[in-house]
């Protein structure tokens, strides 16, 4: 429950803090602008924001209940030509240019409903806040209007399906994890190296997005590549995501606003991996399994998996143990706007248990504090603070993919074992279990006969007995100040810092059950303490000048930016404790203590100049030059230059085009880079526990990888209800990093070196269409469709082709080769025609029809083997004798998002569909389950006798010692109902009749679904599978599946 007392204390502290800043400033002679903001029907719009940004932060007002407002200006403003803007969430903003006159002048606004239209002003990647109409580059934006129906779990999830060209990949589904993001195409060949640069309230952030609460987000802007992100220089080739948290500027003048949102619901699995319900063993006449003298079950002579388990013995281990988890979110926000002070603070608590039993899951608390304080009309200061504290008891080994993980053992758990008491005797009373009758609870030693030669352990044991806690604390703070000594120049400076303190404790008490899967033993105990401290800061200074000559408006911005990053890691572990129940290293056997630490210092200096020209809102040009120096670049190449050129022509302003309100063409070209990893340049020995060894040779000549991108775009608004955008991007990254293996003999013992060894190219087409299909006072229907098609390729590779993988057992299914698309899967392809067997040189001159036949699966098998234990699909071998061929491609043909919002009176219905068409997934889980005989696909029950296959056809043939092969390539197409909500805002008249609420209050009730429904042919848990945080690695290997959430929400504001 939300702690009211605690919040009250917090509130009073916060307000005192705000009040200290809101000092009275000297009164001057004043002039005022008054007016009324109305909707299309002429009704007053309360709470709308009327601002004149160029006159200072505090200059503006909020509308009253009847829609009227009064903006008070200083006498100095008289005579100036300024832009005054009225905006309100849910409406398209309207701006007017007026000349300030002395006394009172009137300016009315009529706003039109707009739930989906991209907010009009962009601040990232431009010299100053710029209307999207005047943008020369493409900036994706998700505004509050798109976030409020279904509050995002995290900023990354908020992007899914909403911005064309942005793929959000849910590598792991466990609560608290952050998905991987790929913008347009890959820029690099290092695994997991596609994540964009993240800015949180202007703070360059290197510690991920998972500590930010989605409720706190006001907007997210996305720069997709070098053509737009060149202002971020050597760190921005993978794009930039700028998150802005909510500030007090939207609160009504002089009033404290209060908003609470409480959401309660459950998480659950939608699609289960199909499990095998049959077996291949001989049974005794009493229905029990026949056992050999060594205690193993005996496989039937035909080895067909078509026998039913004895009645009552089969268990679906997934459905039995994956549970519906509870999710709770409490959020409270307070905003204040008074004269020159904007203040906003929020507090939230999230709990997400996920779908695993016996764990608490993920718990997070967030505190946000944002303050803007004007100092007269020439200066202002702002501060932003985000604090996140989370706890997580899901061990990495519990949730990561691969062998040893919970999902590995759970998916492969024998179906006729009670995992709670695997060795229970028939007399076991589960209500009052005794060790003698029931054995050890969650014993890792499963009955060998049932386990059948696979000792995967008990997936529940660790979750039951191990104490694991990850405590993650994050502080992101920004302080900035602006000073406008004259109307033509603004000086501003900022300091931002991002600090992460991550502590993990992993304790297994001495005397608990050990992990031996053959004989139950007592664990000697173990303890591991980990700590990561990352501290990044960026200091920036800008000077921005403006001048106008006739219709030409020029903005020049000079920037100096210094970035400093210090990362420290430390761990100590012991594999044996001498004292029980003391999770303290002092209890450890000193002989088993092991420790490690790393320190990284990274410094970067950047200077850049941005020049914008705008001629009469018709022609726009932006130019950028930037020079970056970084300690990450090799000593021989410490500095690198970047540039950007972009321009736009608003044809709609030049000509009147019937039906078109806006038609803009634009083009941009720019460069942006990727910085090398910390250790890439250093020529060092590896040191471990005092021993030295040769490892990677440093590269003093290493440069940042540089992406050059050309972008062409069209924006159109037509028929008063459609906004359309089309963007084509062509890009290539030169000098992409690769860890190039060396011949140790030739290098004197060094294994590898990081080199600028590849050129990676990509092409993307993006479209976005917003439609205001119906727009009436009490009924509106808005829709947004985004689409993307991307192609990516390794243009060249300065090394031998190589294979890359990212799950356990070193399954390197991806093949990197110059000239080959990026994301292709290579492996054995099972032949499907007898003719193609002729390519194998070993078959030269042989009568193929005498050797081979096609079985009912369509695979070539050796003639005469059908139905026998020797039946195997045979691999295609090419003329060179190689059986290693292309078997799949992870790249979708296209992906899309479709959002619809329908509002009828106080009711609102919102849904977001997100999907991809095409693109393969490698189902590694299924391959391994073929070996363990757990996957339903190998069930022979009900097959015609002549089509039955022996288990070896699967468990030896397709399992193929886990070598990649075409049988496990699956189509990854899917459509997902990503977000959905049905909400009702209680009408003002109804509220007025309620004693507790009444005038000026808002109450909204909503039912919310996330990942509610997936349509796909993919046979695993979820087609959104990839590994190592990289969309390119669509390989599904025993990962924690992403799950659906269904919640109810109550929002109260006053």
């Amino acid at each position: 429950m939300f702690n009211m007392k605690r919040f009250g204390r917090l509130l009073s502290t916060s307000l005192a803090f705000a009040a200290a800043f809101a000092l009275p400033l000297g009164a001057q002679a004043q002039t005022t602008i008054t007016g009324r903001v109305t909707d299309a029907a002429g009704n007053g719009v309360p709470g709308a924001n009327v601002v004149i940004p160029e006159l200072g932060l505090g200059v503006g007002a909020n509308t009253r209940v009847d829609g009227t407002f009064t903006v008070t200006l200083s006498q100095q403003s008289v005579g100036r030509s300024v832009v005054i803007t009225a905006r309100r969430i849910g409406f398209a903003p309207v701006s007017r240019t007026i000349t300030v006159t002395s006394g009172t002048q009137t300016q009315n606004f009529q706003l039109t409903l707009d739930a989906t239209r991209i907010d009009d002003v962009v601040v990232t990647g431009v010299a100053e806040a710029t209307s999207t109409k005047n943008l020369t580059i493409s900036v994706g934006k998700v505004g509050e209007a798109q976030l409020r129906d279904v509050p995002a779990i995290s900023p990354a999830t908020a992007l899914a399906g909403k911005v064309a060209g942005v793929r959000v990949s849910f590598t792991q589904g466990q609560p608290g994890s952050s998905p991987a993001i790929r913008v347009r195409t890959s820029t690099n060949l290092t695994v997991g190296g596609q994540n964009p640069l993240v800015l949180i309230d202007g703070v360059i952030s290197k510690n991920g997005l998972e500590d930010i609460n989605g409720n706190d987000i006001e907007s997210i802007e996305v720069l997709k590549g070098a053509a737009s992100a060149n202002t971020f220089g050597s760190d921005a080739a993978s794009g930039v995501i700028a998150v802005t948290t909510k500030r007090g500027k939207n609160s009504p003048e002089g009033k404290v606003t209060f908003l609470t949102r409480n959401e309660f619901g459950t998480s659950s699995v939608e699609n289960y991996v199909p499990l095998l319900e049959a077996h291949p063993f001989e049974l005794n006449s009493d229905g029990s399994f026949k056992l050999s003298a060594s205690g193993t079950r005996i496989i039937k002579a035909d080895a067909y998996i078509d026998a039913a388990f004895p009645a009552g013995t089969y268990r679906d281990q997934l459905r039995s143990h994956l549970q519906d988890g509870r999710t709770v979110m409490n959020y409270a926000q307070i905003g204040l706007r008074r004269e020159n002070t904007n203040f906003s603070t929020s507090f939230s608590r999230d709990t997400d248990r996920g779908i695993l039993p016996l764990l608490e899951g993920f718990r997070r608390q967030n505190l946000r504090l944002n303050l803007d304080q004007g100092l007269g009309d020439k200066a202002d200061v702002s501060a932003a603070l985000t604090y996140g504290l989370s706890f997580n008891d899901q061990r990495p080994a519990t949730v990561t993919s691969g062998s040893g993980s919970t999902f590995f053992a759970l998916l492969q758990a024998p179906p006729d074992i009670d995992l709670e008491y695997p060795n229970a005797t028939p007399t076991c009373d589960r209500a009052n279990p005794t060790k003698a009758d029931c054995g050890t609870k969650y014993s890792p030693v499963l009955p060998p006969a049932a386990a059948g030669g696979t000792a995967r352990g008990n997936p529940l044991l660790d979750m039951h007995q191990r104490s694991y806690n990850a405590r993650r604390e994050r502080i992101i703070g920004a302080f900035s100040a602006r000073y406008r000594p004259f109307s033509w120049i603004t000086l501003d400076g900022s300091y931002g810092t991002d600090r992460l303190n991550d502590r993990r404790t992993d304790f297994l008490d001495r005397g608990l059950v050990g992990n031996n899967t053959t004989v139950e033993n007592e664990s000697p105990g173990s303890l591991r303490l980990d700590q990561d401290n990352n501290q990044a800061s960026n200091t920036q200074f800008n000077a921005t000048t403006n001048f106008s000559i006739g219709g030409l408006h020029s903005t020049t911005r000079l920037t100096y930016l210094y970035e400093d990053e210090r990362n420290n890691t430390f761990f100590t572990s012991s594999a044996k404790l001498l004292v029980a129940s003391v999770p303290d290293l002092q209890a450890a056997d000193p002989a088993t203590l092991n420790s490690n630490s790393t320190i990284e210092n990274i410094r970067t200096i950047n200077g850049f100049v941005t020049q914008n020209f705008n001629y009469d809102d018709k022609f726009m040009v932006q130019l950028l030059g930037r020079r970056d120096g970084s300690s990450l670049f090799g000593a021989a190449n410490r500095w690198k230059n970047f540039y950007g050129v972009s321009g736009a022509i608003r044809l709609g302003e030049l000509f009147t085009i019937p039906g078109f309100q806006e038609l803009k063409v634009r083009a941009a070209r720019g460069t942006a880079g990727l910085r090398p990893g910390f250790e890439y340049q250093y020529e060092t020995y590896a040191v471990f526990a005092g021993t030295l060894s040769k490892n990677q040779i440093g590269n003093k000549d290493l440069q940042p990888a540089v992406q050059t991108e050309n972008e062409f775009g069209i924006n159109a608004s037509f028929l008063d209800r459609f906004d359309f955008e089309f963007v084509k991007s062509d890009r290539h990254t030169d000098g992409a990093f690769l860890l190039v293996p060396l011949s140790l003999a030739q290098s004197g013992g060094f294994t590898s070196q990081w080199q600028n060894a590849a050129r990676v190219g990509g092409r993307t087409f993006e479209t976005a269409l917003n439609a205001r299909i119906v727009e009436r006072p009490n009924l509106s229907w808005h829709a947004t469709l985004t689409g993307e098609r991307s192609r990516q390729k390794i243009d060249n590779l300065n090394r031998a082709p190589f294979r890359v993988g990212s799950v356990s057992q070193n399954q390197n299914i991806f093949y990197y080769r110059g000239g080959e698309a990026l994301g292709v899967i290579y492996g054995q392809r099972w032949a499907r025609t007898i003719e193609e067997m002729a390519d194998n040189p070993l078959n030269a001159g042989k009568d193929l029809n005498a050797l081979y036949e096609i079985n009912d699966d369509g695979y070539v098998v050796a003639k005469g083997t059908r139905g026998k234990t020797t039946e195997r699909a045979l691999p295609y071998v090419d003329a060179s004798g190689s059986n290693y061929v292309k078997i799949g491609d992870v790249n979708p043909d296209y992906s899309f998002g479709l959002a619809n919002t329908i509002r009828v009176g106080g009711f609102s219905l919102y849904g977001l569909l997100d999907g991809t068409r095409g693109g393969d997934i490698y189902n590694f889980t299924k391959q391994w389950m073929f070996q363990d005989r757990r996957h339903a696909a190998i069930d022979q029950t009900g097959k015609a006798p002549e089509n039955k296959k022996a288990l070896q056809y699967y468990s030896v043939g397709f399992y193929n010692a886990l070598e990649p092969n075409s049988h496990f390539i699956e189509d990854g197409s899917f459509v997902k109902l990503r977000e959905m909500s049905v909400s009702y805002s209680v009408s003002q008249s109804l509220l007025n009749s309620m004693r507790f609420l009444g005038q000026g209050k808002t109450v909204k009730l909503a039912l919310i679904g996330r990942n509610l429904k997936t349509w796909t042919d993919y046979s695993g848990f979820d087609p959104e599978a990839s590994s190592n945080g990289d969309f390119n690695f669509r390989i599904d290997g025993f990962r924690y599946p992403s799950f659906r959430q269904f919640t109810g929400q109550i929002e109260i504001g006053f």
């Binding site: 594999a575 060396l742 140790l744 294994t751």
Partner: protein
């Protein structure tokens, strides 16, 4: 009341000050996590550490874990190739390389089973590179010592470095069909791949240098560099002699090459080896809990019966009435094994016989999937070093051998028999463990060469089980094909399947790893294969 103008001015001054302080950072950041190469090879203490550590790298390269992923390569894969160990699990190349009929070694840069070759290959050359760096520093006049003012330890570390040179090149010569010969005198990048015989010869030359440098000296290599066992000059010389004797004896890839070995030279080395003199010793390490000194191969082979088992072929040697391989999932009758190293006694409640002190335990159940082939089956598991394994109470903390003194004794015995030397001495050496540990009937000098050699190979199989990585494979490929042991064709076990000492299609060398071949721009090749639908031609 705040003066707005002053506030603005103060603010702008503060901004400029902030910018100015951040304006002059040093972009030359050193890496505090690892020593810089140039500095390390110029600093007495670091050179000492560098040479000293290369022995550890070599050790972990063979016994399982010097580079990630930490896997016991190539010990288990070669163990199953030799039908000395068996395991049906896919890990560490056990299942793939143990399949019957044999498949070609999967020489793939896609890792997985490719690690069986690439991991030891990489680690050997990494250790060799480090030791050569140390030797080059000595050549340049860098003194080797704890620090610049400490006692000069250059002579002993130079001798130690030559021994590591021999050990690393030696292992390459034993395992791979080709390798590079690199010493401190080799100009970087000039070496070429040469056949294993030449690599072995180069290793012997390095051992000779180490032996000569240790001759008559009184220094000591501290135990921190040698797994807790300090090496005096005398001991280092004897280790180098034993390793040289092994190198000569184990290089042959078949019985013909074995017959051509200079066995007199083997005898000469082994006679100065670890089992001779006043204080015979075992080349071993004291485990430190998995930190720096540990044996990952034993970590997996000795997991209380749950992983690797003793191949049924070895059980047949111990009891000739046993089959050489399981033909079905039904186990053969309980064997009658006279050798005391196999567990005896009454089965416990689970039907297992876990006799304390026995080297091999009997388990009623077999953990392998019958669908993978009953030929993987065995009810016997190695137990002699199980306290070192993952499942022990304190894993990797016990002392474990790499070369037992008995191995040197058996090399002397074999060389004596093969050179027509003192067969009575050979019999005495064999009986040390044959009778002393196995309780088997003593052999005499009057025994036939067949009986002596067969008994030597039996002892090598049983007594030396799971000591040094790949030992059984080195033996099985070279064993005389006509040897019989108690009527069992120990040298031609697989005659009934068309094989001989090794199963048909089993590689006798590992190929140069695909990863290295690709880097060098050479075609990838492999060895072995006897599958019904071969992908590679049979060899």
């Amino acid at each position: 009341m705040i003066d707005k103008f002053r506030a603005g001015k103060t603010l702008s001054v503060a901004l400029f000050a902030l910018a100015a302080t951040a304006c002059d950072p040093d972009l030359n950041v050193t890496n505090p996590n690892a020593p810089d190469v140039a500095r390390a090879i110029a600093t007495p203490g670091d050179v000492r550490q560098l040479i000293g550590s290369s022995y550890n790298t070599w050790y972990l390269g063979m016994q399982g874990c010097a580079v990630a992923p930490c896997e016991p390569n190539p010990g288990i894969a070669t163990g199953v190739m030799a039908d000395n160990m068996t395991m049906a699990y896919g890990n560490y190349g056990a299942r793939f390389n143990g399949q019957e009929p044999r498949l070609a070694y999967n020489n793939s840069s896609a890792a997985g089973d490719g690690l069986v070759a690439s991991q030891p290959y990489d680690v050997m050359y990494s250790a060799l590179g480090a030791t050569n760096d140390g030797l080059n520093a000595i050549k340049r006049g860098v003194k080797v010592a704890v620090n610049a003012t400490a006692t000069d330890e250059t002579p002993q570390f130079q001798a130690f470095a030559w021994m590591v040179q021999g050990l690393t090149m030696g292992f390459v010569g034993l395992v791979f069909d080709k390798g590079f010969i690199i010493t401190e005198d080799t100009e970087q990048g000039t070496a070429a791949l040469v056949p294993y015989a030449q690599v072995s010869a180069a290793a012997l030359a390095s051992f000779d240098k180490a032996i000569a440098a240790a001759q008559g000296k009184t220094w000591t290599i501290p135990g921190e560099f040698t797994g807790g066992v300090a090496l005096t000059a005398d001991k280092l010389g004897r280790v180098a002699n034993t390793m040289a004797a092994r190198q000569l004896a184990y290089t042959p890839r078949n019985s013909t090459e074995n017959a051509a070995v200079n066995w007199a030279r083997v005898l000469s080395y082994a006679d100065k080896g670890i089992s001779t003199g006043a204080a015979p010793f075992t080349l071993e390490i004291q485990g430190d809990g998995g930190n720096v000194w540990y044996d990952m191969t034993k970590g997996y082979t000795q997991r209380f019966g749950s992983w690797v088992r003793v191949d049924q072929r070895v059980i047949q040697l111990a009891d000739p009435s046993q089959p050489v391989v399981y033909e079905s999932t039904t186990p053969p009758p309980f064997p009658n094994i006279p050798d005391k190293r196999f567990a005896h006694g009454t089965p416990d409640a689970n039907g297992d016989i876990l006799e304390p002190g026995a080297d091999f335990h009997f388990y009623k159940s077999i953990p392998y999937d019958p669908a993978r082939g009953p030929y993987f089956f065995s009810q016997w598991a190695p137990a002699r070093y199980e306290e070192h394994s993952w499942d022990a109470e304190a894993p990797f903390t016990t002392k474990v051998p790499y070369v037992l003194a008995a191995e040197n004794d058996l090399l002397i015995a074999e060389a004596l028999v093969r050179t027509g030397g003192d067969k009575a001495r050979a019999a005495t050496l064999i009986n040390k463990t044959r009778v002393g540990r196995g309780g088997l009937a003593a052999l005499s000098g009057g025994a036939s060469n067949n009986d002596l050699l067969a008994a030597i190979f039996y002892e090598r199989e049983v007594e030396l089980f799971d000591t040094g990585a790949a030992l059984a494979w080195f033996d099985r490929r070279r064993i005389d094909t006509n040897l019989t042991y108690n009527g069992v064709p120990i040298g031609n076990t697989w005659g009934f399947r068309g094989g001989s000492n090794l199963q048909k299609g089993t590689p006798r060398s590992l190929p140069v790893p695909a990863k290295e071949l690709e880097t060098l721009g050479l075609p990838v090749y492999t060895f072995g294969g006897n599958a019904p639908n071969p992908i590679f031609p049979e060899t």
